[in-house]
Amino acid sequence: MTFPILTTTLLAPILAALIIVFLPKENDKLCKSVAAVGTGIALALSLYVYFGYDQSVGGLQWVDFGQPVPWIKDLGVTWYMAVDGLSLPMLLLTNLIGFTAVFASWNVTHRAKELMILLLVLIAGVMGTFIAQDLFIFLLFYEIVVIPIYIMVVIWGSSKRVTKEYAGMKLTIYLLMGSAFLLAGVIALFVNSVNITGIADMSFEGLAQVAFPEQLQIYLFALLLIGFGSLLSMWPFHSWSPDGYAGAPTAVSMIHAGILKKIGGYGLIRLAIVVLPLGARFWAPYMAVLGVIGVAYAAMGALAQKDLKYVVGYSSVSHMGYVLLGLASLGIIGINGAVAAMFAHGVMAALFFSMIGFIYERTHTRWIPDMGGLAHYTPKLAVGFMMAGMASLGLPGLITFIPEFTIFVETFKVFGLLAVIGIAGIIITALYVLRAAANTLFGPARPEFSHIKDLKGPEMVPLIVLGTVLVVGGILPSLLFDMIDSGVAPLLAHINDVLQIGGR
């Protein structure tokens, strides 16, 4: 019976939300502060857990209450909150972005109270998916986030190429459709596991031990792949992503691009690949192809954009292509790289969206041709923008490079030429990022922007926090990689065993 620190981390935002419910509507500064405190506590706790995790031992640690608490007996569901090297980076990422997202929406005054409540619920929901080691609990958190996001988009979103109503509805329904397939797959998975073993156990560990027949695995993996893939904005299930981000308010874009997408990748590893290795082996080539198409296609799409948010929206699709590619390699290096890439992209995308949000607040436009020379009036903002951009094009010394390189190492070995196409994506990426940066920040100063102010006070938080992570993670990749490796290595060992025995 240990102290349930993870559950506490999970409850911190919820608690803050409850407090805010009883705060006066008018005093939005107070609401924001409470939200900041709540997320701050969660962040502190997750940092404590992250650095308190014993990598030499590995496996699941910080198990709440010491062992799984029986939850739904007949489904074999247990309240099993624990973390390993795979969950921890995601947990940390969630709280990093959650914390900064509060500050990124610091200037929102319109119905700020509701915004903060929804935001906190959202953060808690996402957190739950990463610390739950039980499939059912995972599912509980998996979809809950969708609805707050919808409400946030339609209230605080912005209408440009598409109306925010359209964007919100598309985002929501698209992801729910994906999750329908996922759910079907999960139900079938569970029922079959019961039929095979005779005991109902929904913990990921338990399911991983079940020996599903190969045909079944292939068929289930397809369902899961559609489900998680659409959340990962896997081509061709990506088209929700740019519109969604464009319509969404800053905080939502940050969290969605930063963390939510990662749930797809996380689920693919935790559930699809680990539980259904044979299916994974069957589908891996197709995943790789889709990943590469996603990389090149989305990069090209981003190149054609004039709206900053669309640029980043497409670029995140393209980056997820790398993640998919890494996962498809089914090798330890590739999957380590993929997980690290998810973390890195999360930080980068969050910073990018927060900076774009600030620009939009100031200039009331995201249309690149209407901008230019912003660096003269807002140097700090420009710094943040450039850091995010450079991270996005995988500049060494920032957190995104090593993960991408690691992915390349494995996928180049496994897929050869296919991977080369993916690697070529870095050129296009550089092109659209540099263009966006150049046309937004540099060039002659425009008088109409002379009034706008640089970042100051709370607005600096996203830049400082995320920027620090970008640099530190770039200089000391081992902080991230040792952790991930300690989590992925045992899973991969298990998979390889299965592939040896079950394979042909």
Binding site: I173, G301, I333, L395, I423, I427, F442, P477, F481
Partner: protein
């Protein structure tokens, strides 16, 4: 003390890095202080680098084996990366040279950048560049080296675009980054290949592993491919044809930047890298020939462009490209020694000329066209005479530095040819002709700028000592810096070589040839641009050979081709992709949604509101079901797959 320096070589890049951090976070407000911090750090590095150089060049063991120490950066099963320090004569020479030039140029900048609003930022960037460049030099691991490689690229990007309000600067910066990116793509593939095939990126281990590449299941063809892919990086970084286009535009940056990054240090990183990985290239003669050919061609090509350019810095830029071509050529023919020697001398005289040019521009308020200048030497003697020294050096007049290194290159090329490479003679010819052209266009520029009669509208004045002092120091280096590599006492070749045979007796014939070529070039330049004030002949030539002149003046239209490719092909594809996305992929999505909504709207009208319709549906349903169940149930079940 020497021991300490050798074992803490990582301090060399660390000091400027610290300077960068300090300036950015603390001293940005106080300009003087910032520059002070930056210069002190760089001088510190210089001191340590000198000690290291001393330690290395006084200990003969370093010729055989280099000093390496490293620690784990990150790693996982089957993929471990250590970062560390690798000290040998080559790297310590580079350390010394870079830190020296960097210090001088920073001092120079205090004068040149005076009054610039982003003064502190400039020095921050310079420090960052210094850090990454020095880091690149001492890297013991290809990945570490690649990281630094990209960082210097970043600094170059930032510094080219330093005048952010200038659109041209912005575009030039972008161009530089993109061009080098293309090279880096190839280089990345090469690195990946090495990692995958040889399981390591550590230079020492690779050097041990590659000679027996068959054991790693690597065919000679594959190794050649790897070498060529890897070569793309240097091609872009060191402005070799066809990726040279960014370097001339890079002159949009402040002149000290051009001197430091785009003449003395960063652009030679490519050469240095090939030198570092020569153990790979010597295995694959095919790749070596490509390197040599590209080098020679670039040298000639750039020189051919330089003869018609008008802007002082552009001319210098193309000469840089051309000189880099020399270095590549030397590497291609397998002489690390010659190439590094030229790198060393070139660093001094080219930096010198850039700084002098900067001093000129400073005096003429950035009027760049050489045709608008003249007779400046009277008004600004130090600048002028130092520039002349540089000119002599690059033209290859003994005993100035350039002569010895260029001669060395010619010699090794000739030897390469003699050792049964027919290609070698062609290369030699190109190199020799380039030497002539170099002398010609350099002195064309010098005559046009400093001699002849003054232009009335110019009111030049000598620059402050902070700018002239570095000029003098560099001038000294440019004059005597080559003496350590004379054929009579080739200290250089003895220390810095890749086990290549270096000629015992001096090849006097070649020396003579190169001197004649140089003098011929200078003489031609004199007759065309100095003797007759109106320069009629020059203009007449230009008119008679209009097409050739235009071709050369427009840099053989390479930029136009690239621009066309990017705008038409790349952007076109992008637009197509985008429309495909929103109209087809997304169209399907929206289509499904529309169908759903529409069917809802349609079905709704079944609900007519008349109770008897409902009853009718009710009974009809019963009828249908009865019929189906009574006569078709099993088949139906089989269709729906209802097996339990």
């Amino acid at each position: 003390m020497v021991e300490f320096a050798l074992n803490h070589a990582w301090l060399v890049p660390l000091l400027p890095a610290l300077a960068f951090v300090i300036i950015v976070f603390l001293t940005q407000r106080w300009k003087r202080l910032s520059s002070l911090v930056s210069i002190t750090a760089m001088l510190g590095s210089f001191v340590i680098a000198s000690i290291i150089a001393y330690g290395v060049f006084t200990n003969h063991e370093f010729i055989e084996k280099s000093l390496v120490y490293s620690l784990k950066w990150f790693g996982m099963e089957g993929f471990n990366i250590n970062v560390g320090v690798m000290l040998d004569p080559t790297s310590s020479m580079m350390l010394f040279m870079v830190s020296l030039v960097a210090s001088l140029i920073q001092i120079y900048s205090t004068g040149y950048m005076k009054g610039d609003p982003q003064y502190s930022l400039f020095f921050a960037y310079l420090s960052l560049f210094g850090a990454s460049m020095l880091g690149l030099i001492i890297s013991s691991n290809l990945l570490q080296l690649f990281v630094m490689w990209e960082l210097v690229g970043l600094c170059s990007y930032l510094l080219i675009g330093f005048y952010t309000f200038k659109v041209s600067a912005r575009e030039a910066a972008k161009k530089a980054f993109m061009t080098t990116r293309i090279g880096d793509f190839g280089m990345l593939l090469g690195i990946l290949f090495l990692q995958i095939k040889f399981g390591t990126l550590d230079l020492v281990e690779l050097a041990a592993a590659i000679p027996m590449f068959e054991q790693f299941g690597v065919s000679l063809g594959l190794l050649t491919l790897i070498a060529l892919l890897f070569f793309m990086g240097p091609v872009a970084k060191s402005g070799q044809f066809p990726l040279h286009v960014w370097l001339p535009d890079a002159m949009e940056g402040p002149t000290p930047v051009s001197a430091l990054i785009h003449a003395a240090t960063m652009v030679v990183a490519g050469v240095y890298l090939i030198g570092r990985t020569l153990f790979l290239y010597v295995q694959v003669p095919g790749a070596m020939e490509v390197v040599a050919a590209i080098g020679a061609f670039t040298a000639l090509f750039a020189a051919a462009i330089a003869i018609t350019q008008r802007e002082i810095k552009r001319i210098l830029a193309y000469s840089t490209v051309s000189q880099l071509g020399y270095m590549m050529l030397a590497l291609g023919v397998g002489s690390l020694s010659a190439s590094m020697f030229h790198l060393w001398t070139h660093a001094f005289f080219k930096a010198l000329m850039f700084l002098a040019a900067g001093s000129v521009l400073h005096a003429l308020h950035n009027k760049a066209d050489v045709w608008d200048m003249g007779g400046l030497i009277k008004k600004m003697p130090i600048t002028g005479w130092t520039f002349v020294v540089g000119g002599l050096a690059i033209a290859g007049i003994p005993p100035f530095a350039g002569f010895w290194s260029k001669d060395e290159i010619l010699v090794v090329t000739m030897e390469y040819a003699k050792h049964g490479h027919a290609l070698g003679y062609v290369l030699f010819g190109m190199a020799a002709f380039t030497a002539f052209l170099t002398a010609f266009y350099m002195w064309r520029m010098i005559f046009l700028t400093f001699f002849g009669k003054e232009k009335a509208e110019n009111h030049p004045h000598e620059s402050p000592w902070s700018m002239t002092a570095p000029l003098i120091v560099l001038a000294v280096m440019a004059s005597i810096g080559g003496l350590i590599g004379t054929p009579w006492a080739n200290i250089w070749g003895e220390w810095i070589n890749f086990g290549e045979v270096h000629h015992a007796e001096p090849a006097l014939g070649l020396m003579l040839l190169s001197v004649i070529l140089a003098l011929a070039g200078i003489g031609l330049a004199y007759t065309l641009y100095c003797k007759d004030g109106e320069k009629k002949t020059a203009r007449k030539l230009a008119e008679n050979y209009q097409s050739l002149y235009q071709l050369s003046y427009n840099k053989f239209y390479i930029d136009e081709v690239y621009a066309w490719f990017t705008q038409k092909i790349v952007d076109g594809t992008a637009r197509v992709t985008y429309y495909f996305d929103i109209y087809f992929v997304d169209g399907i999505v929206n289509g499904i949604a529309a169908v759903t909504r529409g069917s809802g709207k349609g079905l709704r009208y079944l609900q007519t509101g008349s109770m008897q319709t409902y009853a009718l549906v009710f009974f009809l349903a019963i009828l249908v079901i009865t019929v189906v169940l009574a006569f078709g149930s099993p088949s139906l079940a089989s269709i729906m797959g209802g097996v339990k």
